[in-house]
Every structure is written in structure tokens, then in C-alpha cells.
């Protein structure tokens, strides 16, 4: 994920959702051009932006299915999507990245990904190669560190937003969140773990209030029914629309095992038949 391609000539956003071999390619290009094009309305500039990075999704049909579901919600007016789980940050991040890529492919959306864990997990690699962009959300005094991944998505640190929202000089309690949600076409919230929110609920409350839809990731053989119920009840208690459940089938008991050989090339080795049968 987030591997730099060797050929720099790939400078287009190339989603191959409809290809027979499903491969989602998010190709890096001149992100600045996209931003400029978006701001100036120059369509030609957007189409010609160069791409350098390539994302590959193995279950492409599933991404298309869930992406379409979220897209229908977007069409009906929902723009702030929260993704939660019972402690699987990586799964949350992967899902958000997949959805953001889907929306990015669909149209020229301004997409924000807000997480308190940008340096680790699935975001880690992408954020590390993302560029800092000047924040024009607030005044210069209250600067927000935004990292743009080649103008496809903007990564915002949740902790920074929470800090800003506690600054009384900035205005009302949830002004910061209003600004962010208003500024972007789509906002994906990488929801922190439930116990964190419960410990400091007054801090996280304005964030929760901005969720227009929440999806919970259920991990195969790991997630417990009682945990999902707790999570569901918690958010339903705030009156947040429960979009549904996302099922994560691949974990440490996944069907195929990746192995690296001496040359560093990853190969896929099929699990023994009996292990597949008894799983």
C-alpha cells in the first residue's frame, strides 16, 4: 500500500474499477495542480495532473459495493462519515482509505480524513509522504497542520482539532469542527477507541456531534457481539445514524499468507487445504 511506482510518467488518477482484474490505482501527480484546478475551476489541469502512487485493492468488488452505498448517502446529503470498531485502528484506516479513493475516483471532491493516529497503521506510510499545506481554515494564530496526499486527500490530526476546540478564544465550542466539515466536501472520521471517548467524553462530544453517519467494523473471529452492542448503543445514545456494519474477513487467519523472499519480492502462498477447510 502506498508503494511508489518506478515509472513517474503515471501522472493520472487511474481507477480501474471496471477492469476485469480489479485494481484500484491512486496515482500521485502534481497535487498542487489539482488544488489549483479545483480552486480555479480549470478542468483541463485536473485531468492532466501527474500520478506517482498506486494502491491495489484485492477485493475490488467489495470496495465498489460499499463505496456505492456511501456514495448514495452522499447524494442524499450526508457528508460526514465516521468509521469505528472495537479497537482495530488499521482496519478503520484501510476502510477510510478505500472509501476516500472511491470518492476521489468518482468526482473531484475535497476529502478530509481526520484521525488521532496519523503516524501509525495504514495512514503512516501515506502521511509520511504527504505534504504539509498551509491551513486557511482559521486565522494565522491558530494554525492547523494539514497534510495533503497529492491533493487527493487531506489528513488532519484529531488531537490538534480537539486542542483548538478547547481554545475559548477561537469562538464557540464546536466552531472548529463546523469549519472543517463546511470546508470539505467529504469528511471521514477515524473514530478513536470507545474507552478513550468514554474517559474524556466532554472533549470528544463536539466531534461526535459532527458524525452524520457511523459504520462499525466487525473483525472475523475477534470482535465480540457484546462489544459491537456496546459501541452501537453508545452512538445510538447520541442519536447518530447507524449506517451499518462492515465485515473484515482477513486477519491473522486469512486465506493466503504473504511471504518475502530474499529479493524482497512478496509472494502469495496458498494455505494448506485442511487449514482452509477447518477455518
Amino acid at each position: 500500500m502506498g508503494l511508489p511506482k518506478q515509472d513517474p510518467s503515471f501522472q493520472r488518477v487511474n481507477f480501474t474499477l471496471k477492469e476485469e482484474t480489479p485494481k484500484l490505482k491512486v496515482v500521485d501527480g502534481q497535487g498542487q495542480q489539482k488544488r489549483e484546478g479545483r480552486n480555479s475551476g480549470n478542468k483541463e489541469n485536473i485531468d492532466n495532473r501527474p500520478n506517482r502512487f498506486f494502491y491495489r485493492v484485492s477485493n475490488h468488488q467489495e470496495l465498489f459495493k460499499i463505496g456505492r452505498s456511501f456514495y448514495e448517502d452522499y447524494i442524499s446529503g450526508v457528508k460526514s462519515f465516521a468509521v469505528s470498531s472495537t479497537g482495530y485502528q488499521t482496519s478503520q484506516q484501510k476502510t477510510i482509505l478505500g472509501l476516500a479513493s472511491f470518492f476521489d475516483h468518482k468526482d473531484d471532491f475535497k476529502i478530509a480524513i481526520i484521525s488521532d493516529n496519523l503516524a501509525q497503521g495504514a495512514f503512516g506510510d501515506i502521511v509520511s509522504i504527504s505534504k504539509d499545506i498551509p491551513s486557511d481554515l482559521f486565522s494565522e494564530k491558530y494554525e492547523l497542520n494539514i497534510k495533503s496526499f497529492y491533493n487527493h486527500f487531506d489528513f488532519i490530526n484529531l488531537d490538534e482539532i480537539l486542542k483548538l476546540s478547547n481554545d475559548h478564544e477561537l469562538g464557540e465550542y464546536d466552531n472548529v469542527f463546523d469549519h472543517i466539515v463546511d470546508h470539505y466536501d467529504l469528511v471521514f472520521w477515524d473514530v478513536p477507541e470507545l474507552h478513550k471517548i468514554q474517559l474524556d467524553s466532554e472533549v470528544y462530544f463536539p466531534m461526535i456531534m459532527k458524525f452524520e453517519s457511523i459504520s462499525i467494523i466487525v473483525s472475523k473471529q475477534i470482535t465480540k457481539q457484546s462489544d459491537v452492542d456496546e459501541l452501537k448503543q453508545f452512538f445510538l445514545g447520541y442519536g447518530i445514524n447507524m449506517k451499518g456494519l462492515l465485515f473484515e474477513e482477513r486477519n491473522f487467519l486469512e486465506d493466503s499468507i504473504k511471504e518475502s523472499d530474499n529479493d524482497g519480492i512478496k509472494t502469495v502462498k496458498k494455505r494448506n487445504w485442511w487449514r482452509r477447510f477447518f477455518n
Partner: protein, 499 residues
């Protein structure tokens, strides 16, 4: 509850596809439990004693219902006294039988060679050790022997032929099996002969007692005298009946005559009592005179016509005067009508009856006297006949009263003879075949049964444990379970996976 709904199915009770999923999920149990159960079963199977079984067939010959006579007897409701299937199967349960057999087998020279340990016992059998608890107490020894032996022996009815049975002996020692089979078969036959003889002897005793009682009861009666008396009375009745019959016809004839005479006398008296009136007599005399005159005139006129063919005037005048007078007389007679006509017969009848009257009354009196005498005799005969009939019926009732007892005595005497004959020729009603059945050896729980038991118990245990684990397991394993568990939420899809 939602989890239980997943396990259950509305048609097949258990959701078998899901059971398959659970078995694959808890595969270690699905392998371990059957392995343990099959291992235990194999060990148990191998550890079992080899059981030796042998049998001999026998038939209940008194209950052979295949012949036509027995079928007809059954239709007519005749009950046979032979052993029923239950009786035969239960022979071995009789404590008397077991006790006597134990006594007999104890005295057998081969008794010490037999193995009386139970089929499942693993220990080596030692007869001395087996009997040492009893301290040579015979009753205790017999009790122990019968307890051990009769757990090996059984009588099994044949499935097809209702009168056929098999005596089966199963023990862990082949010699014991054959020995017991022969001895028990022999003893059953002997026991049956003894039982039948005992039964017949009892019947003979009872029949004799009954016969004596009946004979003493009927000692006061002489049935032959009663029969002779009845015969004599019947003959006398026949005679009286014959007399009554002849008296009856004479009496009826006499009665008719008497009735006729009575009427005659009555009518004569009545006629003589009624006098003829004078007017009637005068009219009668006048009619008589007129009739005489007319007759004379007619003869005169006829004579004149006959004498002269050519009448003169004078003659003519006379003739016409005569005719005129005849005409006048005729008119007068006609003018009288029926007056004086019947008086003539009345007068004649009266004159005649006055002459007969005295004879008729006399005859009537004679007849009446005769009739009364005859009637008296007839009534006496009837009464005598009634008396004789009553005597006959009394004799009859006496005979009827004692006749069954006589018949009963006759039957008892016949029965006694038959019983004595039967007692001297009695044979066993259970006929054993000469050849013993083949020897067979097997284990108590067969291979197939062991396998089936292991299979079923493994399946049951695995399913039960797997379902229990599933119900206690809070984790979610697949999308199907997720959908069923959170049926109020939409399952959007799978999370994207990046290579």
C-alpha cells in the same frame, strides 16, 4: 436466543449446514471427541469375553394346531390343557425346577468341570472357591448353583412356528455351554413327565372322591322302581283314555237324542194346551159342505154331458140351473177365502198327538235317566285319569331329579378309567430334537453395535459440545452470523483489503 435460532431450523430441527460450519470451526473437538470415543469402544470391544452359545430346538406336541381336528375343536370352543407359550418360556423361572435341577447337577460327575462365572467376569473360575462360602451347607450350595446356572439358560420361542422353541445356553466356556444344554434339556423332559403324572394322579384322586360322594348321595333312590311305576301308570292312563273315548261318543249321541225328545215333549204339551176356536170349526164345517156340494154338482154336470149328446130344452134348463148353482157355490167358497182351511189340519194334528203324547214323555224320562248315569260315569273316568297323570308327573320329576347325578357318576367312572390309562402311558409334551445346534462364539457387544454406538455417541457428544461452545462463544465468525445476530443493522459489505 438469536444464537439458538441460528442452530435450530424450522423443518430439520437442527440447521445442518450451520452445524457443518461449527464442526469446521471447532475442528479440534470434531476430531478429538470421536477419536476418544472410538478408542474407548475399541478397547472395550477387545476386552470383552468370548461368549459360547449353543441351542437345541424342541416342540410343544400338545399344542400342535396344524391338524383339522384341532382347528375344529378351536372353532367349537374346546380348550386344550397343554402348555401355552408363556408357560414354556417360564418353565426355567420356576424355583422348584431350578432347585431340583441344581440338586441333580450337583450330583453329576462332571459338575466340577463347569465354569459358573458370569459372562462379563474376567477372573478364572474355581469351583471350590465358588462354593466355599456355603461351608458345605447343601441348601446354600443349591441356591448358589441355581443362581449361576439359570443366568446362562433361556427358552426362546420360534418366530415362525408357534409350537417350536429353542433352549439356549450362553456361557464363557464351551464345555459348560454344551454340558448345561444337554442336562437342562434332559431335565425339562423329565420334569414335564413328572408334572403331567402328578397332575393326572391328582385328577384320579379328585375323581374317586367325587364318585364316592355321588354314590352315597344317590343310595336312597331306586331309579328302576321309579321307572317301572311310571310304565304301569302310563298303561293305566291309556286304558282310561280309551274308555273315556267310547263313553264320550255314546254320551254325545245320548245327549242328541235327549235333546230331540225334550223338544218333542215340550211341543206336544204346547199343542195340546192350545184349543181350536168354535168359529174356526164352523167355518171349517161350512167349507167342507160347500166343497162337497161343488164336487157333487160338478159330477152331475159331467154326467149329464156324458149321457146325452143332444140336450133338450129341459135338459138345457136343468144344466144351466146346475151351472148357476155351481157358480154361486164357487163364489161363496171363494168368498170364504182362507177361513176354515187350516183348522182342518190343526184338528187332525191335535187328534193324532193326543194319542202319541203319553209314549213320548215316557221315552224322554228314560233317556234322561240314562244320560245322567252316563255323565256321572264319564266324569268319574276323567277324574281318575287326572289322578293317574299327576302320579306320572311326580314319578317323572323324581327321575329328572336324580338322573343327572346318575349320568355324572357314569362320566366320572369313564373319566377315572381314562385317567388311569393315561397315567400309565404318560410322555413329555415337549419333544426335544436329537441333534444339538451348532456351536457359536461371539462377543456381547458386536463390532457393528460397537461402531454404531461409538458413531452415534460421538455425533451426539460432538454436536452437543460444539453447540454449547458456540452458545458461549461471543465472537463473530462470518457474515451469515453477523447478519443473523444484528438483524436490525445493515451489513454494508467487507472492508477493503490492500495487497
Amino acid at each position: 436466543m438469536k444464537k439458538l435460532n441460528l442452530v435450530l431450523h424450522e423443518t430439520t430441527i437442527l440447521n445442518f449446514p450451520f452445524m457443518g460450519t461449527l464442526l469446521r470451526r471447532y475442528w479440534y473437538l470434531a476430531i478429538t471427541i470421536p477419536t476418544i470415543i472410538f478408542s474407548i469402544s475399541i478397547f472395550y470391544f477387545n476386552d470383552q469375553n468370548l461368549i459360547h452359545k449353543r441351542s437345541i430346538f424342541f416342540s410343544n406336541i400338545t399344542e400342535d394346531n396344524t391338524g383339522p381336528s384341532s382347528v375344529m375343536s378351536a372353532v367349537l370352543g374346546d380348550k386344550k390343557n397343554g402348555l401355552s407359550e408363556t408357560d414354556i418360556v417360564g418353565i426355567l423361572n420356576s424355583l422348584d425346577f431350578q432347585q431340583k435341577f441344581a440338586e441333580e447337577v450337583y450330583s453329576h460327575p462332571d459338575f466340577r468341570k463347569i465354569d459358573l462365572n458370569s459372562i462379563s467376569s474376567k477372573e478364572k473360575f474355581n469351583m471350590t472357591q465358588f462354593l466355599e462360602d456355603c461351608n458345605k451347607d447343601k441348601q446354600c450350595i443349591y441356591k448358589k448353583i441355581r443362581g449361576a446356572i439359570f443366568s446362562f439358560v433361556a427358552i426362546i420361542p420360534d418366530r415362525i412356528v408357534s409350537t417350536r422353541f429353542s433352549l439356549q445356553v450362553t456361557s464363557r466356556d464351551p464345555f459348560t455351554t454344551t454340558f448345561l444344554l444337554k442336562e437342562v434339556a434332559k431335565y425339562i423332559s423329565k420334569n414335564r413327565v413328572d408334572t403331567i403324572k402328578h397332575k393326572i394322579e391328582d385328577q384320579i384322586a379328585v375323581s374317586k372322591q367325587l364318585l364316592n360322594e355321588k354314590k352315597s348321595e344317590l343310595g336312597a333312590f331306586h331309579i328302576d322302581g321309579l321307572k317301572n311305576e311310571k310304565k304301569a301308570l302310563t298303561e293305566r292312563i291309556l286304558e282310561v283314555k280309551s274308555k273315556i273315548s267310547s263313553y264320550n261318543s255314546f254320551f254325545h249321541r245320548l245327549k242328541l237324542d235327549l235333546d230331540l225328545m225334550e223338544t218333542k215333549v215340550k211341543e206336544t204339551k204346547k199343542a195340546t194346551k192350545n184349543d181350536v176356536e168354535t168359529d174356526k170349526i164352523l167355518a171349517y164345517q161350512q167349507r167342507k159342505r160347500l166343497e162337497e156340494k161343488i164336487r157333487k154338482l160338478e159330477s152331475d154336470i159331467g154326467a149329464i154331458r156324458v149321457v146325452s149328446q143332444d140336450l133338450g130344452q129341459e135338459d138345457e134348463q136343468i144344466l144351466s140351473q146346475l151351472k148357476e148353482e155351481l157358480r154361486k157355490l164357487q163364489l161363496k167358497l171363494v168368498g170364504m177365502g182362507r177361513k176354515g182351511r187350516s183348522v182342518s189340519s190343526d184338528v187332525q194334528f191335535l187328534n193324532r198327538k193326543e194319542g202319541e203324547s203319553n209314549f213320548t214323555e215316557f221315552d224322554y224320562k228314560v233317556k234322561k235317566e240314562q244320560f245322567e248315569k252316563t255323565k256321572k260315569d264319564y266324569d268319574a273316568l276323567i277324574a281318575h285319569k287326572e289322578e293317574l297323570s299327576q302320579k306320572v308327573s311326580k314319578v317323572d320329576s323324581k327321575i329328572d331329579e336324580i338322573l343327572p347325578s346318575f349320568e355324572y357318576i357314569k362320566l366320572l367312572e369313564e373319566e377315572l378309567v381314562q385317567l388311569k390309562l393315561m397315567n400309565s402311558t404318560v410322555v413329555s409334551d415337549l419333544k426335544f430334537e436329537n441333534e444339538l445346534g451348532p456351536k457359536s462364539s461371539f462377543k456381547k457387544l458386536s463390532k457393528v453395535k460397537t461402531f454404531l454406538f461409538s458413531f452415534v455417541s460421538s455425533l451426539f457428544l460432538v454436536l452437543a459440545i460444539v453447540i454449547l461452545l458456540y452458545l458461549m462463544d461471543d465472537k463473530i465468525y462470518n457474515k451469515y452470523e453477523l447478519e443473523k445476530t444484528f438483524d436490525d443493522l445493515t451489513i454494508i459489505g467487507n472492508t477493503p483489503d490492500f495487497d
